[in-house]
Symmetry: C2
Subunit: 162 residues, 2 copies
DNA sequence: AAAATATGTCAACAACGCTGACTTATTTTT
DNA sequence: AAAAATAAGTCAGCGTTGTTGACATATTTT
């Protein structure tokens, strides 16, 4: 199975049979997830390119819109990236007027993050094509089917916070 | 709605209300997809780190195992990255003995790609934790539910090749 | 013989992760 | 009140993986 004939110069042992689902591995899910996520992310990517932003900016704008008033520490915990990595994109979003900071009301060391009007608009503009894609994928599905998808997505995640 | 009081120094207009699913956007799916994919990818990442490889290597090893004998052009078409980007990781995988090249039998300009024994082993090792995760997410789901998930993943993708 | 094709390569750049070290406010602890 | 801890910011450098542009080589097609 897949060894080259002895008279060939290249005698390295290799496989010529494809790896299939037979071995109990769901390659259809593995690949489907890869292609789906790549295409899912490509829509907002195209929009962000115009503003000179990238995916990292997308995530920050998204979560700040989802939870206005969150602290920098909250955001770091959600994104699971380093402070230095976040600082780079957060600074740009603040300087460009998409996000603003307010000193914490109780703890003034904190920087509470809020979306500005443009920040909210951007979040919505980025979500729009993603929503279209989700709607298309859900098309013709029953409520149970959709519930199964949500359950799947939740089950694929590591144990959540709290 | 979310404008600061006039007497405050910081008078930038901002939103303090969270963006919710009310606007017809499936944030649960959007976020679920993000977290699920991130965690899904983290398992193989941890394994690859030991060999000094990254995600790009994972993808190459995966698809070459799935379709032994594929050409470089096939791989580029599947991954949708540039030749130069692929070259970097492919060279490392060949030099490390995970993948081997054979001149095309009909067209000798082609380089047919095959996994070696270690290449196949690596692909399986990387798929294993991902399969575990998928199995966990599918746990307790009906056949119809699982079909719905596959249908969802297919629906999220751009129009496929062929 | 000329043109097209498949692949490889050199160089430079950008986005976005990372580590390590250090500063500034502010709050908590002692 | 002094000391320690905490929240956030910053500087500097590095690694992976994507990009563009230009060019080289072998082989096939025209």
């Amino acid at each position: 199975m897949g060894r080259q004939t002895p008279e060939r110069k290249n005698t390295i042992e290799f496989h010529d049979q494809p790896l299939t689902d037979e071995g109990g591995i769901d390659f259809e899910v593995i690949e489907g997830f890869f292609f789906a996520y790549r295409d899912f992310i490509s829509d907002p990517d195209a929009i962000l390119e115009k503003s000179g932003f990238g995916r990292a900016h997308h995530r920050v704008v998204h979560f700040v819109n989802r939870e206005p008033g969150m602290t920098v520490a909250d955001l770091l915990d959600t994104l699971k990236i380093t402070k230095q990595s976040l600082a780079r994109v957060l600074k740009q979003l603040i300087d460009s007027g998409y996000i603003c900071q307010v000193a914490g009301p109780e703890d003034r060391r904190q920087r509470r993050l809020y979306p500005t009007r443009s920040g909210r608009d951007l979040a919505l503009a980025l979500a729009e094509p993603q929503q279209q894609r989700i709607a298309r994928a859900f098309e013709g599905m029953t409520a149970d089917d959709r519930k199964a998808v949500l359950r799947f997505l939740a089950g694929m995640q590591n144990a959540r916070r709290e």
